[in-house]
């Protein structure tokens, strides 16, 4: 079987437009708190979620919007939840880090790694109550070091639970590089729990679709969990207003705020040797420079551009689809903002 690129693209673009619209509302101060976008990881979500069926469950982390949307949760109620409205998906009680839909068996959490226990519990219920249904967890590379996620991989392995563990590896946990925080190799870790591991290019939605399709088939057949490892890039960095991204976008404004106290502290009497100070200064500077060279600036890393390039062979259909999606999003926005909060 080969993927239907049109529907995958449609899912991805809709999610992108929806999240960009949300970002604007956040910027305008209508959405409070931390807001983590999934822009850049749409290929992973779309590739996996399009295999899900009724009765399948999902455990999401702090970056759950794309998966909720692609799973078919009503966009208006989702966005009204972001706005904190009492008729939002969770009556304004959860917000964008705590999105829940009982109907779709989807739960999110702001606690890194808790997708592990949650997906294990969903899968246990699937195993006992709904034969051939499965549970999927989406989480990041940072979560791989949280004990409860590792425990859950082991539990899923010994109980042969129908789980797809999806690690969306963007190489970062906030400002910490994955390689500075994680020893060894994630695929080896999964195998160390007796779980087969598959790695796939997370920017290529066809590949994700194929690989996760066959993994999910095995899982439905009762063969126990699989670990899917997919690399991607988050365009907005960790969350909206992320400092390193701000530095990238407006170095003249942001750098002095960082550099002045840094230099003062560097020069203060008492503390490490000059050599160590210089090494420390270099390391701070190199994170800034890394940020400037950030892969997030490179549109080649955009999974949507990639799949679009293929679909351009049919420009008329493409335009139609894109126009339609834009209209849809505008409609959603109108509905969302039109109604005043009760």
């Amino acid at each position: 079987m080969s993927p239907d690129l049109w529907s995958l693209y449609s899912l991805m673009l809709k999610s992108r437009l929806f999240e960009e619209a949300s970002a604007k509302l956040w910027q305008e101060g209508l959405i409070s708190g931390e807001m983590h976008l999934g822009t850049g990881e749409e290929a992973i979500i779309a590739g996996v979620v399009s295999h899900l069926k009724d009765g399948d469950a999902m455990a999401l982390d702090h970056r759950g919007t794309a998966a909720m949307l692609m799973r078919g949760i009503e966009p208006v109620s989702l966005l009204r939840e972001f706005l904190g409205y009492t008729d939002g998906l969770c009556c304004g009680m959860g917000g964008h880090m705590h999105l829940f839909s009982k109907e779709h068996l989807v739960a999110s959490s702001g606690i890194v790694g808790s997708e592990g226990p949650t997906v294990a519990g969903f899968a246990l219920a699937a195993q006992m109550l709904r034969p051939e249904t499965i549970a999927v967890a989406f989480f990041g590379d940072g979560a791989m070091n949280q004990g409860m996620l590792m425990e859950s991989m082991n539990l899923a392995s010994v109980w042969k639970l129908p789980v797809l563990f999806v690690c969306k590896n963007d190489g970062w946990g906030i400002t910490t590089k994955s390689e500075d925080a994680s020893g060894g190799d994630f695929n080896d870790r999964a195998r160390g729990f007796g779980i087969p591991a598959v790695e796939v290019d997370g920017l290529d939605v066809s590949k994700v679709w194929e690989v996760s399709g066959s993994a999910i088939e095995n899982i439905r057949a009762g063969q126990g969990p699989t670990f899917l490892h997919a690399k991607c890039v988050h365009f907005e960095g960790h969350f909206l207003g992320f400092q390193p991204i701000r530095v990238v976008r407006n170095p003249l404004k942001e750098m002095p705020k960082i550099a002045v106290p840094l230099t003062k502290s560097f020069l203060r009497i008492g503390g490490a040797s000059l050599g160590e100070r210089i090494a420390g200064m270099k390391s701070v500077m190199s994170s800034v420079i890394t940020a400037l060279r950030d892969p997030r600036r490179d549109t080649n890393n955009d999974p949507i551009t990639r799949v679009r390039a293929i679909l351009q062979s049919d420009p008329i259909r493409l335009k139609e689809l894109e126009d339609q999606l834009e209209k849809d999003i505008n409609n959603i926005l109108r509905k969302v903002l039109g109604k005043v909060q009760p």
């Binding site: 009556c91 068996l105 606690i111 226990p117």
Partner: protein, 336 residues
């Protein structure tokens, strides 16, 4: 009438519920051995052993409850909740609120608690005060076989997370496993009325949040729970001989508290003594004083609780845990 031991009663009520509701499952470390009687009746799918991964399996219990099962998750001891508190603090207790009331987490967590058999400070804690601090959790501490069964059944019917703490001194099974199984040379101060007692022919749920007045008293009201109820009753008998009339109210449920009954009893006597095996500060004993003060009741107040890490040395341990002597001394002080 039928009599049962404390754990027999809890397990029997659980079995009754399991026979009625096929979605009830039980899991935890060593459960195939510890609940082998349930295993041979309900099968290996419903009675499961886990790895020593409390975060994973407690969190899985919460999520399984959301997805249609009715899990009873067993912890080896309440002390070990330290490694997996997140499942209770940030998930079980909050998801109903987060989902706008649309999704509940009806999981029952069962954990042995309490001291008095020389296992040391990491294995003898009570911690109900800590758990009850979290809005959204129901916390139950039975003191008799009848309550252990009736409240177990109530927990299994409650549409939210419930933690049942079972005191090890009330459980022959635990004591035999943990300290006395192969020897007859140790003795613990076991309250007979708590370990064995009358139970109904068929279990009915006991209303969660209802305290039970174990003894009427005119001079002092002791509010207590778990094993300490029996200590309080022993003390009350002793004090009767001195002409002091002491009432004993058994909370049975820590959260929610039966404020009405508490206030009624304290108002009668004007003296409140809390006897609580949990840590003294920032817990149940404080909350009870707030409850009476909020109700505008003026009373004399004292508490007999555990003030420090529980010592291993048996003599020191008995002094640190609430005991009859400390209770009597405190009552006498209140009578001054």
């Amino acid at each position: 009438m039928k009599t049962m031991s404390f754990i027999q009663a809890a397990d029997d009520a659980l079995a009754q519920a399991m026979a009625e509701n096929p979605n009830i499952i039980v899991f935890g470390e060593d459960i195939p051995l510890l609940r082998r009687d349930l295993l041979v009746r309900f099968g290996q799918k419903r009675v499961r052993g886990t790895p020593i991964s409390e975060s994973a399996f407690l969190g899985a219990g919460v999520a399984a409850a959301m997805a249609g099962l009715r899990p009873v998750v067993e912890m080896y001891m309440v002390d070990f909740l330290g490694v997996c508190m997140d499942a209770l603090l940030n998930h079980a207790s909050k998801i109903e609120a987060f989902s706008g009331g649309k999704w509940t987490t009806p999981v029952v967590v069962r954990a042995p608690c309490g001291g008095g058999y020389g296992d040391g400070g990491q294995h003898e804690q009570s911690l109900w005060g800590m758990l009850a601090h979290i809005p959204g959790l129901t916390v139950i501490v039975p003191s008799t076989p009848a309550d252990a069964g009736g409240l177990m059944l109530a927990a299994l019917k409650h549409n939210g997370p419930v933690i049942i703490l079972e005191h090890k001194l009330l459980s022959k099974t635990w004591l035999e496993i943990l300290g006395s199984g192969a020897r007859e040379t140790v003795q613990f101060d076991i309250p007979d009325d708590g370990t064995k007692g009358e139970v109904p022919q068929k279990w009915d749920p006991i209303h969660i949040g209802e305290a039970a007045l174990r003894r009427e008293g005119r001079d002092v009201t002791i509010v207590s729970l778990g094993v300490s109820v029996h200590r309080a009753l022993d003390a009350a008998k002793k004090l009767e001989a001195e002409g002091i009339s002491v009432g004993v109210l058994d909370l049975r449920t820590v959260s929610p508290l039966d404020k009405k009954t508490i206030c009624k009893e304290v108002k009668k006597t004007g003296r409140l003594l809390v006897v609580d095996e949990d840590y003294e500060t920032f817990g149940l004993s404080g909350e009870l004083s707030a409850v009476v003060l909020e109700a505008g009741i003026t009373c004399k107040y004292a508490r007999v609780c555990t003030q420090t890490t529980i010592p291993y040395n048996r003599k020191l341990e008995d002094q640190v845990l609430p005991n009859v002597e400390r209770i009597c001394a405190s009552v006498r002080q209140l009578m001054k």
